[in-house]
Amino acid sequence: MTLDPRITGRFEYGQDQQVEGMLHARILRSPHAHAKVLSINTSEVPQQVVTLTRDDVADLEPLYGPMVKDQPIVARERVLHVGDAVAAVAAGTPREAEEAIALVEVEYEEMPGVFDPVDATGDAAPLLHDGIEIPAELRPDGRNICHRFRLQSGLGQQGFELADVVVEDTFAVAAAAHVAMEPHATLAYWEEGRLHVITGTQTPFNVRRDLAALFRLSEEMIRIVVAPMGGSFGAKTFMRLEPITAALARKARRPVRAVLTRGEEFLTVNRHPARFHIRLGATRDGTFVAKSVDAWWDTGAYADCGPSVCTKGGYAAIGPYRIPNVTVDSRCVYTNLPPAGAFRGYAATQGVWASERVTDLMAGRLEIDPLELRLRNLLRDGDRFATGEVMRDVRFAACLRAAAEAVDWSEGRKNKGLAVMLKGMQTPSRTGVALEIDAGGHILLRSATTDMGQRPDIAQRNLAAEALGLSPDLIAVGPNDTDLVPFDTRTTSSRSTFMMSNAIREAANDLRRKIAERFEVAPEDLVLSDEGAGVAGSPDLSRPLADLAGLRGDGTFVTPGGLDPDTGQGIASSHWHQAAASAEVRVDPETGVTSITRLHTAVYAGNVVDRPGAELQNEGSTIFGIGTALFEGIVFEGGQVTNGNLSDYEIPSILDVPDFTYDLLEGGEHSHGLGEMAVPVVPAAIGNAVAAAGHPVRNLPMSAEAVLGSSTSQGLRRPSSPQGGWEGD
């Protein structure tokens, strides 16, 4: 067996990319959360070092952003968060760049900042963005709000009049760090007016589009080569280092590579902190009749994909339940914190936490078994979700039952908790793929699916092999280069296996047609095998695949959909991620330390394409969920990250992971992504277990101190409104 280069360490990630004559970049970042940039003086920087300030990008589009154009390459008049890029340098060595950046002098005038998404919507809050253009599909209704997703179904709030019992509470989820082991890394160079960017990104076509707009070029003048990533978890989506690196390279007329430090990672993109106020109404028999979700998503200084986060988190907080009357008001709010963006478990983590804690509050109030209550209300095939879409291929109950059984739910509920969720996929969406026979007789698969460690090449090869009836060994995945691969929306939201499986089937059919044409037979008469192509019943016509070199099949798969931002009606997701979890805990009543004694996740996996990969994804998601549940949270003070290193911000080690179990529920017609289904349900199940142990926690993470503070025996301080205190835990 030849050793995999990932094992020998010879594998090349984004940070390992280099080209002749490359310079090294460093970024000067704002020490202030909100300030005017009065002056920038680079005169002390040595001549041979290239500097980049606002004056160097004056000829470009001033702002970029995947949903709202609100972010400059380097600060213009103001800095809006600690870590905001003010200037950059490129030098011959990283050390030279490091020393040069210290020689740039910036004069600031500090301004008041706002660090709380509820405060930021108040009249007293400083206005972060003035005069930016908000796209027509967004609803910037309110101060510092860049988007507001509203949903109303049935009677909306009036539905609560039908309820015998109403429970409500407020919840908060802290910011979290992705902590991909490899930091962000980008290399850019210009050749004859064309921009080449080699970068670790999940979103090459978004980056190409947005760089084209920023540099006022046609998309053909931009080439994105995707480097494999040492983890991403959402961090390497949309533009991160690409604009500043490309602008430095433009000025330097040399290739430039930028690699972030660990500390900079915490200032670049994090998970949205969120607040919820949720009300749930039910009849005495436990039938849900009304629910309202009020949410505030802190997107930080720049919107990034926040408007989409507030939408997806808004409907995820409804939960996979049949509720006739629902209102959602979910706000994406600017503050002076570092930007928040996509994060494994995308918005569902926050929404499911709040929603599933409320489900248990209702179970407690009605004195109904939480499992029974959920089963009574779960969406079933043919039901309409609050968005109006009809649910198909529904497995919520199967997931939940499997989870409950794994912790012997029926034998007692002491210290146990459950959670179930629905999570949408990026919709509408489009994927293209090509299958091309090369001169060596291999099938070259051309796809933009990016590799962040989720083994996409194995999955895609298996899918293509199955669709063509060939061995996976014959399928090779081509370079991930926007010059060479068909358009694909992006590798996010666990969409790729689903989207690609459909597009690959399409491409395989197309290729069979092309081969059949060559043989002048109908596609049904074509026989394809590892030995070659031939015609049924005429073995003498068989030819090796190499003889067919150059033939190419193309496949495209498109899903329609989208939600109306004012009513929340439409198609939220072309298919649903469905999962449940169960947990049993032991809480030390004197220290608040939670030990997980049992943990199980059950996720709807559809057709499993790469079994070890599917297992790894679900195990990893579960472990991500444990970190979010128990101790991961970024601490901000006055906009400063106070724990921006891996000693103060910890991620789970092998000793933090209990022996856990899981089910990949198979079946159905589709292959599903399962890269993040366990992330949202694990914290909620643990939280419900901790609550069942007498500690009704409302916030994530459930630090030992917070658990102790929430103990029922200590008395819980409950704020009267979401604007009130959150000191209870």
Binding site: M1, F11, M181, G230, M452, S621, I651
Partner: protein, 150 residues
């Protein structure tokens, strides 16, 4: 300054300043398996073995390593039982932390050929894998131990 070391049993002269770390010097010399993640000795991604013992190369000032015998995964050969077990059991995802886990495992198994599950977990606890491949890593260490005892 030039710092003479042995890397994977070959003499290597590392070019480094006195205030640079062994990690920086190793990467400069082309050992890509040695990678920076936390820079404070917490994550284990930059693990190398010095005279058979794992250390964080991000914390060792390069001159302090003068004369050391350093092991990295670049020295792995096909058939290495630990690497083989990691590969066969798919005990990695993005692979960025994998060299550190393999080296930590090697140090463990050379001293303790038949570790109990708890000993494995304690030995590996200082290596972090954000993709969360711990279950399969644990299985791989067990399998490697078995095959090395045979």
């Amino acid at each position: 300054m030039k710092i003479a070391v042995q890397v994977n049993n070959h003499p290597v002269e590392l070019e480094s300043r006195a205030d640079e770390t062994l990690l920086t010097a190793m990467r400069r010399a082309g050992f890509r398996s040695v990678r920076l993640t936390c820079g404070i000795g917490v994550c284990g991604v930059c693990t190398v073995l010095i005279d058979g013992q794992p250390i964080s190369s991000c914390l060792v000032l390069a001159p302090a390593a003068a004369g050391a015998g350093i092991t990295t995964t670049e020295g792995l050969h096909d058939g290495d039982p630990i690497a083989t077990a990691f590969q066969e059991l798919s005990a990695f995802q993005c692979g960025y932390c994998t060299p550190g886990f393999i080296l930590t495992t090697r140090a463990l198994l050379l001293e303790n050929p038949d570790p109990a599950d708890d000993e494995i977990r304690h030995a590996l606890a200082g290596n972090l894998c954000r993709c969360g491949s711990y279950l399969k890593i644990h299985q791989a260490v067990r399998r490697a131990a078995e095959s090395m005892r045979r």
